[in-house]
Symmetry: C2
Subunit: 299 residues, 2 copies
């Protein structure tokens, strides 16, 4: 089968054998934000046309959102592979000659009744936890919108999203904090990141600690080149203080550089971190497809 | 004398009599960001030329910053009117025929050694607290960069800045939260503001509660027109939870609409609020001028 993780900014595709092993992979900056409405089939054919034969195509991510190819309703927590697979929706193109499936996202409501959502991460998690022992686990997928997930007995029971990566980006680009920072790619500064983590543990709250990034820059306490790392430490420190368990193991899924930052932050907070396979989305899509009724996966 | 509060985006000027009473006032959108380097004397003459005779001109605000007319070093906490007045710096123009004074800003370091700064608010506070009884007081100046000030026995002993107003503005304009909000002026929605305040008291932290503004909008829990008020409630609620005292009186200085929001938020937090005169900057400048050595205020 072909597994496609089609997100906002990129498309990652995997060609899998009958046992779910990855035989080939492709990645393109062809995220849904780059595709005009009605243009999804054409982009998919352009990216994967030479792969497509009689194998089923199963997709997850923002491709199932209102801005995607077909809006697929959210499955609801608690949900494991079977419940999420039940929400898969078929999609046909080329006058019915091609057919694929799009996975649902997942929603939950917290104790106060406030909703939260994910699209794509649920499939990564399904794939990533296949190797974990039974019982409970905490999983974190850091990023633009970090996800903190409670896993129990084969199902996602609850989760919470933190806007950490996006808040970093808008403050870096559009606030007074960015004025002290140079344009262009940020250099990592390990000491400044650690100082930011430490600051997040002190009193005053995030909104005060953010202003402190400016004053520390103005007073030369933190070098200008190191300010992005300091800001990142403050934000990740606050995210972890609010959403990580007080101790125990956190399983991380994400890009290696970001996972390394979260590992350090979790260690400072008192947690141990373990890294899960970031290709887990291919395995997740394979597991979801295995729940489709026999015959349904053939075009 | 002439008292000038010259900030980033506007210039407010007052003509005072010998007892410090306001005889006339002017306001112009001639903040320092609109003035080219070297152009400050010209702008001041254009705004106040017909007022200027032999009266001293005393200024406070960002006009004393690196981007202003003359960078005046920060006074340091603890500081009252006498200590701040000691930092006044003279400025001359028109080939020495005109002379004015620029007030210093104020800096402090918290228990962890992290610096904080203000420019202009110290003068407002000096003027506003002239009527307060001796002892301790908490003063809040809400805004783009809200200031929380501890006042004791005639001096500012410490303060903390929260980037609340600016974080609201950049998220409103540049983040995914703004995509659900209409362009143009925001309407106040009292129920949504209160819901945002309540949310700030729940677990999950600010970065999670921000994402919740999006999901509540997506799920129709909060109407799109009401989302800016909800976001404002979440941010102000977090500011107050982190920086307000647990109980007691907080003195507010600021624009009436913003002061009303903070009064509600403080009441929900368990504090009583009292509003101080927002023309206090004129009185503060008058008090600072009264500390200048005799003869020094004449041009």
């Amino acid at each position: 089968m072909i597994a496609v993780d089609w997100g906002t900014s990129s498309l990652r595709a995997y060609r899998l054998d009958g046992a779910g092993r990855i035989r080939a992979r492709r990645e393109a900056p062809a995220g849904i934000m780059t595709v005009a409405a009605g243009g999804f089939a054409e982009v998919l054919e352009a990216q994967l046309g030479d792969w497509i034969d009689d194998t089923p195509i199963v997709m997850s991510g923002m491709i199932g959102s209102r801005q995607g190819w077909l809006e697929v309703p959210y499955a609801e927590c608690p949900a494991g592979a079977a419940e999420i697979a039940r929400g898969l929706r078929p999609i046909v193109w080329n006058a019915g000659r091609r057919r694929g499936w799009i996975a649902p996202g997942l929603s939950c409501r917290d104790a106060a009744g406030v909703p939260d959502v994910m699209r794509g991460e649920e499939t990564q998690i399904i794939g990533a936890v296949a190797d974990l022992p039974a019982g409970e686990a905490t999983i974190c997928l850091p990023g633009t919108h970090s996800k903190w997930v409670s896993w129990r007995d084969g199902r996602i029971v609850a989760f919470a999203t933190a806007m950490t990566g996006e808040v970093f980006a808008v403050l870096r680009r559009h606030s007074i904090l960015g004025r002290l920072m140079k344009e262009g790619d940020d250099q990592r500064d390990a000491a400044a990141f650690t100082a930011g983590l430490r600051r997040a543990e002190e009193r005053g709250g995030l909104l005060h600690h953010l202003f402190g990034a400016r004053t520390r820059g103005l007073f030369g306490d933190v070098a200008e080149d190191a300010l992005p790392s300091y800001l990142s430490g403050v934000l990740i420190g606050h995210e972890i203080a609010a959403l990580a368990p007080p101790a125990g193991v956190v399983h991380l899924i994400g890009a290696p550089a970001l996972v390394a930052l979260y590992s350090e932050a979790l260690a400072a907070h008192g947690c141990t971190s373990r890294t899960l396979d970031s290709d887990c989305v291919a395995r997740g899509l394979f597991l979801l497809a295995s729940h489709l009724p026999t015959g349904e996966t053939n075009v």
